[in-house]
């Protein structure tokens, strides 16, 4: 829908990642101005999609605040769309999981989402403008998985859902909506499920009603829908994009 996001100023974290980049492309295609945040400055500048890159460690409050301010300068005003897609994924059975690994995961996936959301909302509220936040959670935040154990990832993504609801509740009076997308098995470099192709194919047949992987573009379509006025009465919602996995 060209023009649906015309005049909107968007900030996408994890902008060099597959889903972040797909969101940025879709936002640009629908008319938004976009700033990409990522800790990997080289990967960011290599994207060259027409969005301004800003290097930022999403775990660091000072860095996030500075990046949000810098983005407002590049966008000629505070961002009114924030896509929190910065995230990491590791596999580790609980008995092997170290406290440091736990903290590192939560620092990026959950603390980073909090920091970016708070900085963005503070600027918008100060400017008296409405906006929309879309947080990338995961179906891993809704269900457990013994075959691919990642308690710290799952907990971080469940935390993102609770954080999203609280953002929705606290910032609704300011006209800021907050919703979460839960991608299922999406065809990105972060996906580990297809590392064993036979096992992956078997899972797609039995565990995914639609019988296929999703694409980063399909996640981005949901994200931009939620950021758009088509979703004007949605806030605090969890939207799985998972081919029906969580309907089983």
């Amino acid at each position: 829908m060209p023009g649906r996001m015309a005049g909107r100023r968007a900030l996408v974290t994890g902008g060099a990642g597959a889903i972040g980049l797909a969101c940025a492309r879709r936002l640009l295609a629908e008319g938004a101005d976009v700033v990409l945040l990522d800790r990997n400055a080289d990967a960011l500048s290599a994207t060259a999609i027409g969005a301004a890159p800003v290097a930022c460690d999403i775990r660091a409050p000072g860095a996030v605040a500075a990046a949000v301010t810098r983005a407002a300068g590049l966008l000629n005003g505070p961002a009114d769309v924030l896509v929190n897609s910065a995230g990491v994924y590791r596999i580790a059975p609980l008995l092997d999981l170290t406290p440091d690994e736990w903290d590192d995961m939560l620092a990026v996936n959950l603390r980073g989402t909090f920091l970016a959301g708070r900085a963005m909302a503070a600027a918008l509220i100060a400017a008296g403008r409405p906006g929309a936040i879309v947080n990338i959670s995961s179906t891993a935040g809704l269900v457990a998985d013994a075959a691919e154990p990642s308690a710290h990832y799952n907990a971080s993504k469940a935390g993102v859902l609770a954080l999203t609801r609280q953002m929705a509740a606290e910032w609704a009076p300011h006209g800021i909506r907050a919703n979460a997308v839960c991608p299922g098995v999406i065809d990105t470099p972060m996906l580990r499920m297809m590392d064993d192709p036979a096992a992956g194919a078997a899972y797609l047949r039995t565990g995914v009603p639609q019988g296929r992987l999703g694409s980063a573009e399909e996640v981005a379509a949901a994200v931009v829908f939620l950021a758009s006025d088509d979703a004007s009465y949605l806030t605090g919602a969890t939207v799985p994009v998972d081919g029906g996995v969580t309907a089983i």
Partner: protein
């Protein structure tokens, strides 16, 4: 895109039909009320007049979705009118009685289940068979409710019917996924519709307050501070039936201004 929208004579259904037509769909509007013909005629004229939409056909058909024979016949006529069906939006529904369970007659309880749940089942059954036969996939959107996710004193039949719609839909999603047909539920919150105003009038009468006071009470309970509109729901329907939601099936999407997180 060829779409059937039930409960389309007014309110949410009319708004959904209008949005789909403006997005380029041929639309059949179905309703138990004969007013649906006038709604369809008005929509056809509006869309043609606006020039922006590419929808060519808007047809109104009067039929009761809870009647097995009549609903199947209506689907046949709809498919004839628009040459097939790719999208079904089951929006037809009634509020049911505003009574405690102990004061609800069996006939009243059955009536709300018949329209809201059995009617949705009958329409899904008839349309899914056509979609499977076409072999080109499709999308079904059924109207649940936030009151199918949380209970309401005095609304047991309605709540049960809407909770039933969600699980009917999710089961259907699993059955139809191999055919490329997606099925999802929208769960609206408090909407600015005649059905909701009727409920608030009833609440006002029961509690000795005014209708206006009841409207303000509801608004104050919604984080976004307002009732939802037909346009709010139509935007979500437009997304769910489009390729943009191609990997979304078996889900309930809450559209409630933040009163319930699902």
């Amino acid at each position: 895109m060829r779409a059937i929208v039930t409960g389309a004579a007014r309110g949410l259904g009319a708004a959904i039909a209008e949005r789909l037509a403006r997005d380029g769909a041929d639309v059949v509007l179905l309703d138990v009320s004969a007013d649906v013909t006038a709604t369809a005629d008005r929509l056809a004229a509006d869309v043609a007049g606006a020039g922006g939409g590419r929808g060519q056909v808007a047809v109104g058909l009067a039929a009761d979705v809870s009647d097995e024979i009549a609903s199947a016949a209506a689907v046949d006529r709809a498919v004839d009118a628009i040459g097939g069906v790719d999208v079904l939006v089951n929006n037809a529904g009634i509020g049911g009685p505003d009574t405690d369970v102990t004061g609800t007659s069996l006939a009243e309880f059955r009536r709300v289940l018949d329209v809201n749940l059995t009617g949705t089942f009958l329409m899904c059954r008839a349309v899914a068979a056509v979609m499977i036969g076409q072999g080109s996939g499709g999308a079904i959107v059924n109207m649940g409710s936030v009151f199918g996710q949380q209970g309401v004193a005095g609304g047991a039949g309605y709540c049960a019917s809407k909770a039933g719609v969600a699980l009917l839909t999710h089961s259907l999603a699993l059955e139809l996924a191999p055919y490329g047909i997606r099925a999802n539920t929208i769960a609206p919150g408090n909407m600015a519709t005649e059905m909701h105003w009727d409920e608030l009038r009833s609440r006002a009468a029961r509690s000795g307050t005014t209708f206006g006071e009841q409207v303000e009470l509801v608004k104050a309970s919604v984080p976004l501070g307002r009732h939802g509109t037909g346009g709010d729901i139509a935007g979500v329907v437009a997304w769910l039936v489009s390729p943009d939601a191609g990997y979304v099936t078996g889900q309930t999407i809450g559209v409630n201004g933040g009163i319930w997180f699902s």
